[in-house]
């Protein structure tokens, strides 16, 4: 478990090649870190992530096969990870952006996005929460998005999956209140990663390292929700109050 100064010993990354999650692992205090499990599809990217963390001086990095859409496999996987030892921090960081246009043209593609981002997260989130409560301590970090704060015409398929995920994670955090386990909901704006390569940059676009530092600080302070960058909180609060006819006319 975390020691008295908040330094963790073990981390599970669901979505083991997520750039933001890997940046978060690198930003964690590592004096006591001895086990990092990257759960994701077997891929060169996953191998590279293990190598990168290991060469950054992090000990005990390993991988386990995980597919967010295959919810029937989640129970065995989560139990396997927790049976091997307590997990102090779980980063729920998988997700796909998909293409809004293609999704509108072919709803099966939209369903795929929803299954991965929302259904997969519900399946794995509940199982992780039960194990965290069972061990009596630990944090679940859920990477949501400001896209879920208010759905926009240009990406409401993705946005709605994040809205669902965000509401789920908040409820899960309330369910775990007082149990020693907690949920941190992270709402980043646009982040410069593979997922967003080639897209025009939105205002307040940031880097994975910035998000990572905000997550680590949020964990240390026991926060429920953080925005990255922080001032996005005020921008989103303002956006959420706009009447729909006005919101619709904003540049998408």
């Amino acid at each position: 478990m975390n020691d008295a100064l908040g330094d963790p010993q073990s981390v599970l990354v669901l979505g083991g090649t997520s750039e933001i999650a890997l940046a978060t692992v690198r930003a964690l205090p590592r004096n006591r870190l001895k086990r990092v499990v990257l759960a994701g599809r077997p891929s060169p990217a996953r191998d590279a992530a293990i190598a990168a963390l290991t060469s950054a001086g992090i000990q005990g990095v390993s991988a386990i096969d995980f597919e967010a859409k295959n919810t029937t496999e989640h129970a065995v996987l989560i139990n396997q990870v927790f049976d091997a030892g307590d997990i102090d921090i779980v980063l729920l960081a998988f997700g796909v952006l998909g293409s809004q246009d293609e999704g509108e043209a072919n709803p099966d593609l939209a369903v795929e996005v929803a299954t991965t981002n929302y259904t997969g997260a519900v399946s794995v989130g509940l199982r992780v929460a039960a194990r965290l409560k069972g061990q009596g301590h630990g944090s679940l970090v859920v990477f949501s998005s400001v896209a879920g704060d208010r759905a926009r015409r240009s990406n409401f398929i993705y946005g709605s999956t994040k809205a669902g995920l965000d509401a789920f994670a908040q409820g899960l955090g309330d369910a775990l209140h007082g149990s020693g386990a907690n949920v941190l909901v992270v709402r980043p704006g646009m982040v410069r990663t593979k997922m967003t390569t080639g897209m025009p940059e939105a205002p307040m676009t940031t880097d994975p390292e910035v998000v990572a530092n905000i997550v680590v600080a949020g964990l240390r302070k026991g926060k429920n929700t953080v925005y990255a960058p922080g001032p996005l909180r005020f921008v989103m609060t303002a956006l959420k109050t706009l009447p729909r006819p006005v919101f619709r006319r904003l540049p998408q």
Partner: protein, 457 residues
Amino acid sequence: MSQQSPLRLADDEQLLTGWGRTSPSLAKVVPVSTVEEVQKCIEESGPRGVLARGLGRSYGDAAQSGGASVIDLQQMSSISLNASTGAVTVGTGVSFHDLLLATVPAGFFVPVSPGTRMVTIGGAIAADVHGKNHHVEGSFGNHVQEIKLVNGLGELRALNPDDAQSEEQFWATVGGMGLTGVMTEATFKMIPISSSLISVDTERCADLDEVMARMIESDSQYRYSVAWIDSLSASGRGVITRGDHATREQLPEDKRATALAYGPKALAKTPGFIPSGLLNKFTVRAFNEAWYRKAPKHEQGALQPISEFFHPLDFVADWNRVYGPAGFVQYQFVVPDEASEVVGAALRKLQSVGAPSFLTVLKRFGTANPAPLSFPQAGWTLAADVPAGIPGLAAALDELDELVANAGGRLYLAKDSRQSPEMFASTYPRLKQWQRTRDQMDPKGIFKSDLARRLSL
């Protein structure tokens, strides 16, 4: 069929922390009042195991175990004193407070007393606590004659330091942090006293060298000795208080009739809300200045009540809350005499991160006892409180750990909440031997604490 949610809190589940109020974990708390109930709890142990907890005065994660059944022993509170031999047999949930209330008026005092009386006898054995008399009389375990313990197979065993069959298990239990079984009863020898007052000599020293020189010179003349150090002064000035039980004859005549009267009180309560940062370099500097000035330059034979001399921590109830919501750590190490310079280096290191500590205590230890995990060993021990929220503290304490380990020293498990498993294993060289004995006593690995998991015990 309706199913119970695994996320729902049960009525008997509680968040537990140590005295430092850091790293809470949730456990099922099971109050017990008989050996049979202890055995039943062990038989029904789940995958997260079982741990006994007393009054939760260890500072870190020793008396908590996330997901486990944590046995609350406070109802195991019988006290049976043999006034002709001075031997007392108690339930392990008995606190020093309760024990002293029962025995001081009868003319008996505990053989070793920690700095608070809010510690149970079970906890005192599990942590092998020491007091101001360690340099002459050793730690609490040295005085224990028998322990009754329910082991990991649910069997009630009597452990005895003079019995070849059980001595190894006895010493594995002394200092064993509750990981060898659940102690239910203990017998130890009390010391006879003819008054409840302590005759105290006080000396104020202008710097750390003088404090240490005076303690080396004359500690052996005193049964009890300890020094308070002004952790924020560059010189390491301090106040040495030493003494022994006053005899009835040393009391003024009008006090002799009530020589054994004993009525300790907590004088103040910590207010309900404490902002973080209340304790800082400035407030603690002011406190330390006042504390230093309050002590007489040199005074001999002042009479103090037991509670004032032994239990200064009990004058303010819940004082652990003054460190605010982030909690605090207590750093306590011992180093051999040859490495006495580590004491000064540690004080400077804590000053360099701006760690304000008002309860900084220096003491000389005598020889170690046979318990593999017992903390005290001959040399110097320094204890300092540090608020957990200070930036850079983790790295500073890791550097201090290295200094202590290289000097042949180690940290006290009852205070620890942050050392690394490697630091622990390298400074307790008899860990493997202890683990072998523990595995005999608990072959199924039922006894678990957060500390045990953190340090891979």
